[in-house]
C-alpha cells in the first residue's frame, strides 16, 4: 500500500541575487532542498529537525503545496500538492507557530464558523467536532475573544482547532510550541499525542524544541544543507548516536567517588553519584553490579542521552 506522504528525490533550487561589486548583482543558485527522499505511513508521528536554513520549512511548504518543487515527486494522500493544491488542502491541517492563519479581528468562534464554510463541513459534524476540540483544549472561556487579544497559548490552541475542524488525516505543524510556557507546551504535546492515538491522525512536526520530538514522535528525520542525514525511529537514532548513558546511584552512605574502569564520575552530591559510561564498555546492569560490589546501593536510575546531545552530534558528524 502506498504511504500517505511520499517524497522522491525532491529538489528545490532558488535563484538569489547577490551583490557583486558596487552596481552589479550576480545570480546564484541555492539548493535549499537537495534530493530528499522519504515516506510517511498513515498514523505515524514524524519529527523533522534541522539547523536554521537546513531546508525544513522549504520541504514542508512543498508538502503543503505553497511551494512547487524544482525536481522530484511529491505525493500527499495520493495527490501532487503542486498540481492539486485545493484537493490536498482539504485533506491537511496546517499550524504555523510563528504566523497566525486565523483572522485577526474576528473572535475565535466566528473564525471557526467561517472555516466551516471554507472547508464545506456539514453543520452537524462541525458542531460535534468543535465541541469535542474545545472541550479537550479547555477553550470555552475565550471563544468570544478576538484573536488579537489572545495570549500566545490561547492562540495556539485556537490554531490547532482551526487546523483540525475539517478532520484532516494529516496535520503539519511548524514550530507549534515556540514561545509557549512549559505548561502550555505540555498541553499541546499531550493533545497531539492523544489525537494521534485516538484518531490516527498523521502528524508531521518541524521543531527546534527536541523535547517535542521526544514526547511526541516515534520517528525522527534530520535534515542539514538540504539533505536528509538521518532517518529512523527516535529510539534507534538515540542508540546510534547517544553512546553515553548515565547511571545515577544513591548509595546508602556518602562516600568518595567510585573508581571503576571506563566510568567517569561526573558529579557527587552527598550519597548520590552520577556515573557516565559508554554503551560498549558496560551495560546498566553490569555497572550496577560493579557499584554494588564496592558500596551498598539504596536506589538507582538510568539517564538516557538528551535528544539535544544526540542531534548535536548528528549535526557535527554531517559537516
Amino acid at each position: 500500500m502506498a504511504a500517505l506522504i511520499e517524497l522522491d528525490r525532491v529538489t528545490k533550487t532558488f535563484t538569489v541575487l547577490q551583490k557583486a561589486g558596487r552596481l552589479r548583482r550576480r545570480r546564484v543558485a541555492v539548493r535549499a532542498v537537495d534530493g530528499v527522499t522519504f515516506s510517511v505511513e498513515a498514523g505515524a508521528t514524524v519529527g523533522y529537525v534541522g539547523p536554521n536554513g537546513a531546508g525544513k520549512s522549504t520541504t514542508v511548504k512543498m508538502l503543503i503545496g505553497i511551494l512547487v518543487p524544482s525536481a522530484g515527486r511529491v505525493r500527499v494522500d495520493g495527490r501532487d500538492p503542486s498540481r492539486d493544491r485545493v484537493a490536498v488542502a482539504r485533506r491537511i491541517g496546517v499550524v504555523f507557530g510563528q504566523r497566525t492563519q486565523l483572522w485577526w479581528d474576528l473572535p475565535l468562534h466566528d473564525s471557526f464558523e467561517l472555516l466551516r464554510h471554507v472547508y464545506r463541513v456539514p453543520a452537524a459534524d462541525h458542531r460535534a467536532r468543535l465541541a469535542s476540540l474545545v472541550d479537550l483544549l479547555d477553550m470555552g472561556s475565550f471563544l468570544a475573544t478576538p484573536v488579537r487579544q489572545l495570549s500566545l497559548g490561547q492562540r495556539m490552541r485556537g490554531e490547532m482547532v482551526a487546523a483540525l475542524l475539517h478532520a484532516p488525516p494529516i496535520l503539519f505543524l511548524d514550530e507549534p510550541t515556540i514561545g509557549l510556557d512549559l505548561v502550555s507546551k505540555e498541553a499541546v504535546r499531550a493533545f497531539l499525542a492523544e489525537l494521534n492515538r485516538e484518531q490516527g491522525t498523521t502528524v508531521v512536526l518541524t521543531t527546534h524544541d527536541l523535547v517535542d520530538v521526544e514526547r511526541l514522535c516515534d520517528r525522527l528525520l534530520v535534515i542539514d544543507h538540504g539533505r536528509v542525514i538521518e532517518d529512523g525511529t527516535v529510539a534507534a537514532v538515540k542508540a546510534r548516536y547517544g553512546a553515553e548513558r548515565t547511571l545515577v546511584v544513591d548509595l546508602v552512605e556518602p562516600g568518595p567517588p567510585l573508581a571503576i574502569a571506563g566510568v567517569e564520575v561526573v558529579r557527587v552530591d552527598g550519597p548520590r553519584q552520577w556515573l557516565r559510561f559508554r554503551r560498549g564498555t558496560h551495560t546498566a546492569s553490569s555497572l550496577l553490579a560493579e557499584v554494588a560490589a564496592r558500596a551498598p546501593v539504596r536506589d538507582v536510575t538510568v539517564e538516557e542521552p538528551a535528544i539535544e546531545d544526540v542531534v548535536r552530534r548528528i549535526y557535527a558528524t554531517s559537516r
Binding site: T58, I64, G65, A89, R99, T100, W103, L106, L114
Partner: protein, 276 residues
C-alpha cells in the same frame, strides 16, 4: 484563483467572501462616529475632483465641444464605477503587504481561492464614501440633461457603471499582481487606477491621439463612461467606430476580467515556484 474549481468550490469561495465582508461591516459599525466621519471626508475628497471641473467651466463654456453637464456625466458615471471598484476590488492592493509579512501563505493553505480571501479580509466599508458624491452628481445630471430618455438610454447608464466597475476592478487586479514578481509596486497600481479615473473624468477628445488610442483600445477606459456618453449626447464617435460601440461595455468587461484572472493566476504560479 486560476486553479480549477468546481461549482461547489466557487460557492465555498463566495460564502467565505460574504462572511468576511459581513464581519468587517459589523466591526466598522461598532466605531460608528469614526466611520461616518471618514465617509464624509471621502465625500469631500471626491468633491475636490468635481470642484476642479466646476472651476474649469467658470472659465469656458465647453471643453473640446462638451458642455458642463456632459462632462459632469463623465465624472459621475466614471466616478461611481471607480468608487464601486474601489470598494470591492481595491483590497487586492494588499497582496503586496501580505507577501511582505509572510501571511500570504495563509491564503494558500485553504481550499479556497486566494483572491477571494484577500478581497474579504481587507474589505473596508468606509471606502463606500468614494461613491456618494459621484453618485449624487450622476443622479442630478440624469435629471437635468437634455437627453431623450428612452428605455435604451435609461438602461445604458447602470449598465455602463456596472461594466466600468468590472473594468476598474480588472485594472486593480492586474496591477496588484505585479507584487508576485517585485514587491514595491503599490504605487504603479495607483497610476493606472487613480490615473485612469482622472482620465475618464474628461472627454478623451482633449487627449493627444496617442493617449486616446491607448485609452480606447489598450486599457479600455473609454468604455467606462466616454463611449456611452457619446451615444447618449449624440457626439461623434472616435476613430470612426460604429455607434454600437457604446454598448460594448459587457464584452469589454468580460474580456478585462478574463485577462485579470489570467495574470493573477500567473502571479500565483510564480509565487509558488519562487517562494516569498
Amino acid at each position: 484563483m486560476a486553479e480549477p474549481q468546481d461549482a461547489a468550490g466557487a460557492r465555498a469561495a463566495f460564502a467565505t467572501y460574504r462572511r468576511l465582508v459581513a464581519a468587517r461591516i459589523r466591526a466598522d459599525w461598532q466605531y460608528r462616529t469614526s466611520f461616518l466621519v471618514f465617509l464624509a471626508a471621502q465625500a469631500v475628497v471626491t468633491g475636490a475632483d468635481f470642484a476642479v471641473i466646476a472651476v474649469i467651466f467658470t472659465n469656458v463654456d465647453q471643453l473640446a465641444g462638451w458642455s458642463a453637464v456632459e462632462v459632469a456625466f463623465l465624472y459621475g458615471a466614471s466616478g461611481l464605477a471607480f468608487g464601486l471598484g474601489d470598494l470591492f476590488v481595491s483590497p487586492v492592493e494588499f497582496a503586496t503587504n501580505h507577501i511582505k509579512a509572510g501571511t500570504f501563505d495563509g491564503f494558500l493553505i485553504r481550499p479556497v481561492g486566494a483572491l477571494w480571501q484577500l478581497l474579504g479580509v481587507e474589505f473596508a466599508p468606509r471606502r463606500l464614501g468614494r461613491t456618494l458624491q459621484p453618485a449624487g452628481v450622476l443622479v442630478v445630471v440624469v435629471a437635468v440633461a437634455e437627453v431623450d430618455w428612452g428605455p435604451a438610454s435609461v438602461a445604458l447608464v447602470p449598465l455602463s457603471v456596472a461594466c466600468g466597475t468590472v473594468i476598474y476592478g480588472a485594472i486593480w487586479v492586474v496591477t496588484s499582481s505585479f507584487a508576485f514578481w517585485t514587491v514595491e509596486t503599490q504605487e504603479i497600481a495607483s497610476s493606472f487606477t487613480y490615473g485612469g479615473n482622472a482620465l475618464t473624468d474628461y472627454p478623451i477628445d482633449v487627449l493627444g491621439s496617442w493617449l486616446r488610442r491607448i485609452a480606447t483600445f489598450v486599457v479600455p477606459l473609454a468604455s467606462v463612461a466616454y463611449l456611452p456618453a457619446v451615444w447618449l449626447f449624440d457626439k461623434p464617435m472616435p476613430f470612426g467606430l460604429p455607434r454600437l460601440a457604446a454598448w460594448t461595455g459587457p464584452v469589454v468587461a468580460v474580456a478585462a476580467a478574463l485577462v485579470a484572472r489570467g495574470i493573477w493566476g500567473l502571479g500565483i504560479r510564480h509565487y509558488r515556484s519562487t517562494g516569498s
